[in-house]
Subunit: 247 residues, 2 copies
DNA sequence: CAAGCGCTTTGATCTGTGTCAAAAGCTGCT
DNA sequence: AGCAGCTTTTGACACAGATCAAAGCGCTTG
């Protein structure tokens, strides 16, 4: 069971216990691409989906691999990232329950994906999903809406990476995490921040040290509190928002 | 006719001369969302499209405005950008002939759009286009593919903004411009670079001065040549590629 | 419950890029 | 041709954040 983090675990177990419940009992359906589906369509999705569980720190796929599968995250946190040849990494996104993984879908994955925490996904073979999308246009339309949101998010992130200071980046990051937690029905105020300082740094275009120092500074200024269990309390949300939107 | 650059020109003229030719004669159709349409569908598109011409430096729409229109660029160059309250700007993309404008489509535009050169577009009312998309699923599918490509591009840009040096950014920028020119059937080697140093800086997360210095350095090292007419010759494409992909 | 190990925090110093300033080129106008 | 108003280039200096280094803190494990 000692899979080294980051390596593929070929025997990521099919989660037999989850299958009986399937889509009908899916707790995050309203957040996903499956949201607009009526019963027949949902049954069809159910038929082609397989459920999988990954431990924390496992590779799901790598940039450049043929993109055979697409995923719906039903539990946990995933990071997606790109690498430069010398090892510099850019985390381009974090995915949570309800998010769709595999959108930028050419024949090959445009990025690597790795779990941050224990994660459950719903997996589809690309060809089978494509077929379903043709059969149920509302699903395709939903995917287009999702793609639009991701595009808007990506642009927001470009603004952050290209033009914001370290403090602004951290404030923005915490607020976005908090908002997403809220829409997903999780705690928005003590925000759960499951990813490491390194992951945050690679997401915000900073170094671990700068991330740590900036957290400390925000704490000292009374804007946040670092609580045990990777929780961050946003003590002064207004001030954070002001910093995030410009300073 | 002296519209100050960046302001909306309410009388951006409907280009009457273009209408008779319309979609059937569209030189960039194979690049656009209209590529997969058969005759009937194309006629339907034709019926809801209006053609417009913008001079260089004109505003097309602003971030936050209700997104009533979507566009197909048929000629020229457009930049899209986001602003922070204190004026810092991030250009999140440049659009050329064949590109679709308005994808990240919620009810409001997620960014502002402004022409860089004289530009011609094909404009659709959002509601009418949506209707067409429902009628012609291959068009919606095409849009999804386009969105996927834009997403992949956005992630590449995040990698650039978060992790590349100034020199790597400029090299990457020139190569991407060159590749896009090629696929659009324009000159790939002396690349046409119509945007100002300021626009490039705001796209690459740098300052004008750094962009200028870096161009000079690449020129000194013999990797590029700056030619009149905003043309840049990529004298040593291999070296540029090596710098761009990592250094 | 001590030891080991990875992650985070803190400290000291360095550097790539930003900032401020001015000179050099272009372009259009008179 | 010559000036006005730009954009671009070049120069000198400053600083936010990177780098290098070491100490602190939890976990896990035996």
């Amino acid at each position: 069971m000692a899979t080294s983090p980051g390596r593929r675990d070929e025997k990521d177990l099919i989660d037999r216990t989850a299958i009986p419940q399937a889509c009908a009992a899916c707790g995050v359906r309203s957040l996903t691409v499956c949201a607009p589906l009526e019963d027949a369509a949902l049954a069809a999705v159910d038929a082609i989906a397989s459920r999988h569980t990954f431990e924390a720190g496992q590779n799901i796929f790598d940039e450049g691999e043929p993109s055979q599968h697409l995923f719906n995250v039903t539990k946990g946190t995933i990071k997606i990232y790109k690498l430069l040849a010398d090892g510099r990494r850019q985390v381009t996104g974090f995915l949570f329950a309800g998010d769709f993984l595999g959108l930028a879908s050419d024949s090959a994955y445009a990025y690597s994906a790795e779990t941050v925490t224990e994660t459950k996904v719903c997996r589809f073979r690309r060809g089978q999903l494509d077929e379903l999308l043709q059969r149920y246009p509302q699903m395709e339309r939903r995917l287009l809406v999702i793609a639009g949101h991701e595009l808007a998010e990506a642009q927001e992130q470009m603004l952050l990476l290209g033009r914001k200071t370290a403090k602004e980046r951290i404030a923005s990051f915490l607020l976005v995490l908090s908002r997403r937690a809220k829409t997903a029905g999780r705690s928005e105020d003590p925000v759960y921040v499951p990813m490491s300082r390194t992951d945050i740094a690679d997401y915000l275009g900073l170094t671990t040290e700068t991330v740590s120092r900036t957290f400390t500074k925000l704490k000292t200024e009374g804007l946040i509190q670092l609580k045990p269990g990777n929780l961050v309390a946003l003590s002064d949300r207004e001030a954070l928002a002001e910093i995030a939107e410009t300073a």
